[in-house]
C-alpha cells in the first residue's frame, strides 16, 4: 500500500520500474502532466486513477475527484483542460443509483471546469475484486504560448506561494472513512484549478513551476521540486496556512498537516519580481482567497526542504516514506 501513498515509495516505483520500462524523454520529466508537441500545438496530456473510499464525502465524491484531479494535473502545466476521457470500473453488486449519483457528480464537475467528456469505457469486475467504483480519467489541454512550467526552471530567490489552507481534503476523508469526529465538519477542498492558474498566468506567463499537492501533501510536492530543480527550499512553518480544525485533528492522530492530501490547492514557485502581483491575482480569485507566501527557493541545502519552526529552530521536511500512520498515543 505504501507504494500508492505518494511518498518515496511511489516515486521509486515510477522511477525504477515504470519509467525505464516505458522509456521516452517526455515521460522522464515526470511532471503531473506531459507537455507534447502535436503539429503546431503544445498540448498537456495527463491521466489519473481514483480509488477513494468512501465514494461520497463532505465536499465531494469520487466523481468530482476524477474530473478535478486530471483537470488540475493539466493546469499545473498551465493548460486549461479541453477534453476528458472517463473509464468506470464497477464492482459487481454496486447499486445503479450509486453509479448514477457518481456520474451526475462527474458531469457537473466537468461542466464547472469547462471540460468536455468525449470518450469513455465501462468494465465490471466480480464482487470482492473492487471497491464499488474505480474511475480513470485522461485529459488534454492546450498550453498557452510563452508558458513553460517545470521544476528545472526554479532558481534560488523564487518565492513559494500556496493557494490556501492545506490538509483539508485528507482530514475530511479520514473523518468519514474512519468514523472520526473532530467537533466541526471538515469539507474537502476538491475544486478545479484551471481558472486560478489562468488568473496567475494573466499576471505573468513566467511562473516557474506549479504543483497540486495531493497524495503526500505539501511536503511531497516541495521535495519533488527541490530534488528536480537542485535548489533548496526554505519555508516558514508559521506561514503555512493550516486551519485550526485540521491542526487539531492532526494533533489528535499524530499526523503532520504538511503530509496530508489536498485536492483543490496548488503550490507555485514564482520569480521574486512577480510575486506580489501573482499573490494579489490569486487572492482576487475565489480559489486563492487565502493564498500565502510560505518560503523561498534558496542556495543552501540543495535538493532539500527545510522549515524554520515557529520557535526559531530549523528542521528538515522530508519526503514521506509511504502513507502516514496514526500513532498510538
Amino acid at each position: 500500500m505504501g507504494h500508492g501513498g505518494g511518498g518515496a515509495l511511489s516515486a521509486e516505483l515510477v522511477q525504477h520500474i515504470f519509467a525505464p520500462a516505458f522509456g521516452g524523454d517526455t515521460l522522464a520529466q515526470l511532471g503531473d502532466s506531459a507537455s507534447v508537441q502535436l503539429g503546431g500545438a503544445r498540448l498537456a496530456f495527463s491521466t489519473d486513477s481514483f480509488v477513494v473510499r468512501p465514494l461520497f464525502f463532505p465536499g465531494g465524491s469520487i466523481g468530482d475527484l476524477a474530473v478535478n484531479g486530471t483537470v488540475n494535473d493539466l493546469a499545473m502545466s498551465g493548460a486549461r483542460a479541453a477534453y476528458l476521457s472517463c473509464g468506470f470500473i464497477l464492482e459487481e453488486g454496486v447499486e445503479l443509483s450509486v453509479v448514477a449519483r457518481v456520474a451526475e457528480a462527474f458531469g457537473a464537475a466537468a461542466r464547472e471546469a469547462g471540460v468536455e467528456v468525449v470518450t469513455g469505457d465501462t468494465k465490471v469486475v466480480e464482487a470482492g475484486h473492487g471497491d464499488g467504483i474505480f474511475i480513470n480519467t485522461a485529459g488534454i489541454g492546450l498550453i498557452p504560448p510563452g508558458v513553460d512550467l517545470r521544476p528545472q526552471r526554479v532558481v534560488p530567490g523564487d518565492v513559494v506561494i500556496v493557494s490556501g489552507a492545506i490538509g483539508v481534503h485528507g482530514v475530511a476523508i479520514m473523518s468519514v472513512r474512519e468514523g472520526l469526529e473532530f467537533g466541526v465538519e471538515i469539507a474537502s477542498d476538491c475544486a478545479a484549478l484551471g481558472g486560478l492558474v489562468e488568473a496567475m498566468l494573466a499576471v505573468t506567463p513566467d511562473l516557474h513551476v506549479l504543483r497540486d499537492p495531493t497524495r503526500g501533501g505539501l511536503a511531497a510536492s516541495l521535495n519533488e521540486i527541490a530534488a528536480a530543480s537542485g535548489t533548496g527550499v526554505l519555508i516558514q512553518e508559521r506561514h503555512v496556512p493550516v486551519p485550526a480544525p485540521v491542526a487539531n485533528a492532526c494533533a489528535i492522530l499524530g499526523l503532520d498537516p504538511m503530509y496530508v492530501a489536498n485536492e483543490g490547492k496548488l503550490v507555485a514557485f514564482v520569480p521574486r519580481e512577480h510575486a506580489d502581483a501573482v499573490l494579489d491575482a490569486m487572492r482576487a480569485h475565489p480559489l486563492g482567497r487565502d493564498a500565502a507566501v510560505i518560503g523561498a527557493a534558496v542556495d543552501a541545502h540543495p535538493g532539500m526542504v527545510v522549515a524554520r519552526t515557529g520557535l526559531g529552530g530549523t528542521r528538515v521536511v522530508d519526503l514521506p516514506v509511504g502513507e502516514q500512520l496514526p500513532r498510538i498515543c
Binding site: 529552530g313 528542521r315 528538515v316 500512520l325
Partner: protein, 375 residues
Amino acid sequence: MKYIDEFQDPELARGLLDEIRSTVTRPWALMEVCGGQTHTIIRHGIDQLLPDQVELIHGPGCPVCVTPLEVIDKALEIASRPEVIFCSFGDMLRVPGTGRDLFRVRSEGGDVRVVYSPLDALKIAQQNPDREVVFFGIGFETTAPPNAMTVYQARRLGIRNFSLLVSHVRVPPAIEAIMRSPNCRVQAFLAAGHVCSVMGLGEYPELAERFGVPIVVTGFEPLDILEGVRRTVVQLERGEHSVDNAYPRAVRPEGNPAALAMLEDVFEVTDRAWRGIGVIPGSGWRLAPRYRDYDAEYRFQVSGIDTREPAQCRSGEVLQGLLKPHECEAFGTVCTPRTPLGATMVSSEGACAAYYLYRRLDMNKTAPLEASPVG
C-alpha cells in the same frame, strides 16, 4: 478548549528561554521520558534554542520502540493465521520483527487492520463472529486503560472471539532502572504528562527522594516543554528534588480514578522485557487470571518462532539515554525509516526517527540518500 497555537507562541517561548538562560549556571542533563516529547523537542528545534548547559537526553518512553521483539514476532505469527483479524494502532505496522513487519504480513494475505481505538476492534469482533479478532495491546499507562476497558466490555457483552495480545509497560520502574544504571548521567526527569493524567503523581515522590532527582510533570506542546525545563533547572540550581506538576491543565494529583479502577480490575503487575533494554522487574501489566480467556498468548499457542535482534542495532542504548541516535554507526546508512534495524527508526515517537526526519541537515554526519529497494 485551548488551541494548539497558544502553546506554540514564539513570544512566550522567548520569555521562557530567557528565564532558563538567566537561571542556569552550570551543565545539567535532563531526560524527557516520553517519545512524544522527544519529537516535539526535535521537530520544533527546542534543543537548538536552549542554552548549551542544558542537555536533553531522550528517554525510553516510546511504547512502540520498547515492545519486545519476541512479542512482535508473536503478533506476526498470529496475524498470519487465516482465521484471525489482527487489529493494531497504525504505528505498529512498520515496526520490524524478525525479518518482516505487519505490513508484509498484510501484503502476504493476512487480515491486518488499522484501528483508532481498541473498541473499534471489539466492534469488528461483533461483526465477524466466525473470525478471531486480536487487538495488539501495547503501550504505557496511557493506552492501558482503554485496552482494559475493551476486555471488560468484551466479557460484559459475552463476546468470545476477541482477545488482546498484551505488552503494557509502566514508567516508574523504568525511571528506577535508568537511575540504577552505572552509566547514568540523568540529573532530572521531565515526566510524561499523559501518563500522570491517568496515574496521578503518587508514584513519583519516593523516586525523587531516593535518587535525589527533580521530577517535573510536563506536557507535549513546545511551551509545555520549555516550562518543564525551566522548572527543572530552577530545582537543580537550588539543589532541590521534588515532584512538580507543570501540566495542571491535564494532570490532577490523584490521576483518573475511573481509569485506575479499570486497570486494577483487568490487569496485574508483572515483570516485562523492554526491547533493547531487557527485563525490568515489575515494569509491565498482563491480564489478570480472571480475564485469561481474553489473553491472545493463551488462546493462540505460538511456538517455534526464531527471534533474532540485529546485532548492529543500538536502540537499547538510545532508549536509555546512553547514545544519541546519530552517534550510532548504522544511523542513516544501513538503518533508515525504509530499512530500519530497530523500532526507534520507524515509530512516530522514536528518537532515531526524530533525528532522521528533522535533523539531517545540522548533524555532523549527513545521511546519504537511501539506496532503492526497487529495481
